[in-house]
Symmetry: C2
Subunit: 284 residues, 2 copies
C-alpha cells in the first residue's frame, strides 16, 4: 500500500492518529519538501515517528517515482506531504503512476492552507479560484494571475493568493557549469506579494489591486505564532509578518458584514478598515 | 483555553495528535453534530478519548454558547467539529463570543470537504465559489445557487456543491404542538441533488446543469468506503452512492487534460466521458 499522508500545517503533532499509525507501519517513509514547509525539520519528524525519513525533492518525485513506489504492492510505503496530499499537482502524478503499477493507494487527508485560510475570518464559500504569485525576476514578471483576480472580483469573491517558494534553486552560473550547488531557500513575504500586485496594477490599471484594495495578510496559519493582519494593500506592504509561510487574501465586495466584523479584529487601523469596508460593501 | 478542534472526515483516528492531546487535557468536551457527521458516533469517540463527550445541537451552540464557554478562561474546554472548524458559520460566532469574554481560543485544523474534494481528481485552484444545495419542499424550491454555478461556469471553473443535512427536524404538527419529537436525520444524496439541479435547469434554461453537464459524485470522501463516480448528470442520477455524506462537483470548461485523465478513471462510461470532455475542452 502507498499511503499519501497529509502532515497539516504546523509541527510533528499535526499528523492525524491514523496517519501516524500508517507511518509507523511503513517500510519506507518519504517526505515531500519542496511545495511547503512545517515549523519543524526532518529530524524532529524522525524522532516523533521513531522512523528514518527520506527527503524527496522535486527531481526525485517527478523523475524517480518508481523508486518511491518500489515493491509498494507488497509492503507499506508512506509519502508525507505538508498540508493535504491534493494541494499540489505532482501528487496526482504519483497516484496515477501507482495506479498504472497496480499499487493500492490510501490518502490520509489533513488541513491545508486551502481550508485553513478560513482562519482569516472570511467564509470559505465566498472564495473564488485560488492563484499563485511567483517571484518576479529582472526579465520575467508574469501577471496572468491578475486576470484570475479580476474574474473573482467581478463577482465580489475573495481570492486566496499562495506565495512562491524557491528551494534547491541553482544560480545561472552553477546551472551552466553543472554544479549541484543550491541557493538558500526563499519564501515570498506578504510584502513582496503586495509590491508585485501594486506594480501589476500600475501596468494594467483595471483597479483590482490598488493601494486601497482591502486584503488580509496571513503568516504561519495553524501554528502558535500565526499572524493575521487586515488592511489596505498600502498598509500591508509595511507590516512585518515574520518568518514563512505567508499567504495573502484579497477581499471581494460580496463580503458580509458578519465577515467584516470578524476580520476587523485583525485590522492594522480599524478606522481605515471601516471606511474601506463601507466604500466596498455599503453601511450595515 | 477554548480549543476548537477539527475531527477530519472519517473516524475517531482522524483527529490530529495535537487535537487528541487537547481533548484529553480538557475539563469539558463538546461535539458539534449538526453540520456534518463522522462514520462513528459519540460512544466511539468517548472510548477513544477516555473522556465523556457532550453532543451540542444547533440550539445549544447558537443560544447557549455561554454555557459552553463557562470558566474556559480558567480551564481547558474542547469544542469538536467534524471536518475543519472554519467550514461553517456558527463556529465563527463562538470565536467572536469567546473573544468578547476574554477567553483565549486555539483552533486545531483538520481536513474538510473543502480541501479533500481534491480527491476527485480536479485541481483545487480551478474551483470557483462553493454552493450549498438544500432540500426542496412542496412549497419552497430555492434556486439562487444556480446563479453562483453560472458565475463559476462563465470562467470555466469547477463548483463544489455541499448537500443538505437535516438533523433534529420537527414535523410541522410536532412543532405546532410544542412537542420535542424529532424526525429521523436526512442526508441529501447525489441523486437528489442532481434531480433538483435538472429541475432548476428546466426552469432557468441557461444551460449550466443540463443532462449532458459533466460532474463528479462523491460519497464518504476520506473514509475507507469512499466512492467517486464521474459522468453526465443524466448518468449520475441513477448511480447508487450508498450511505452519507455525499457531495457533488460540477466540472468547469477550464479543466486541463491532466485533470480529465485522472477523473476518467472514475467515469461511469469512459466513451461518454471522453465525448463530453472533447466537447467541453476540445481534443488533447
Amino acid at each position: 500500500m502507498l499511503y499519501i499522508i497529509g502532515l497539516g500545517l504546523s509541527d510533528e503533532t499535526d499528523i492525524t492518529v491514523k496517519g501516524l499509525k500508517a507511518v509507523q507501519g511503513s517500510e519506507r517513509v518519504y517526505l515531500e519538501a519542496y511545495t511547503s514547509i512545517l515549523t519543524v525539520g526532518k529530524e524532529k519528524l524522525e524522532e516523533f515517528y521513531g522512523k528514518s525519513v527520506t527527503v524527496a525533492d522535486r527531481e526525485m518525485v517527478e523523475s524517480e517515482s518508481d523508486a518511491i513506489l518500489e515493491n509498494a504492492d507488497k509492503v507499506d510505503v508512506s509519502f508525507l506531504v505538508v498540508g493535504d496530499p491534493y494541494g499540489a499537482t505532482t501528487h496526482t502524478d504519483l497516484v496515477i503512476r501507482a495506479r498504472e503499477l497496480g499499487i493500492p493507494v490510501q490518502v490520509i487527508h489533513n488541513a491545508s492552507i486551502m481550508n485553513a485560510a478560513g482562519a482569516c475570518g472570511l467564509q470559505l464559500y465566498n472564495f473564488g479560484q485560488t492563484i499563485s504569485i511567483v517571484f518576479f525576476t529582472d526579465t520575467w514578471r508574469p501577471d496572468s494571475f491578475y486576470d484570475r483576480v479580476a474574474e473573482n472580483k467581478k463577482f465580489g469573491l475573495h481570492t486566496l493568493c499562495l506565495l512562491d517558494i524557491k528551494v534547491k534553486e541553482q544560480s545561472i552560473e552553477n546551472l551552466a557549469r553543472g554544479r549541484k550547488i543550491y541557493e538558500p531557500p526563499r519564501y515570498m513575504t506578504v510584502n513582496q506579494a503586495v509590491e508585485q500586485l501594486l506594480e501589476i496594477e500600475e501596468n494594467r490599471g483595471e483597479g483590482h489591486c490598488t493601494p486601497d484594495t482591502l486584503a488580509i495578510g496571513c503568516a504561519r496559519i495553524g501554528t502558535p505564532s500565526q499572524k493575521i493582519v487586515a488592511g489596505s494593500l498600502a498598509e500591508l506592504v509595511n507590516v512585518d509578518f515574520g518568518g514563512p509561510l505567508h499567504s495573502l487574501v484579497l477581499i471581494g465586495s460580496r463580503m458580509h458584514h458578519m465577515e467584516a466584523d470578524f476580520v476587523r479584529e485583525y485590522a492594522v487601523d480599524k478606522t481605515t478598515f471601516d471606511d474601506l469596508v463601507k466604500k466596498s460593501i455599503g453601511p450595515k
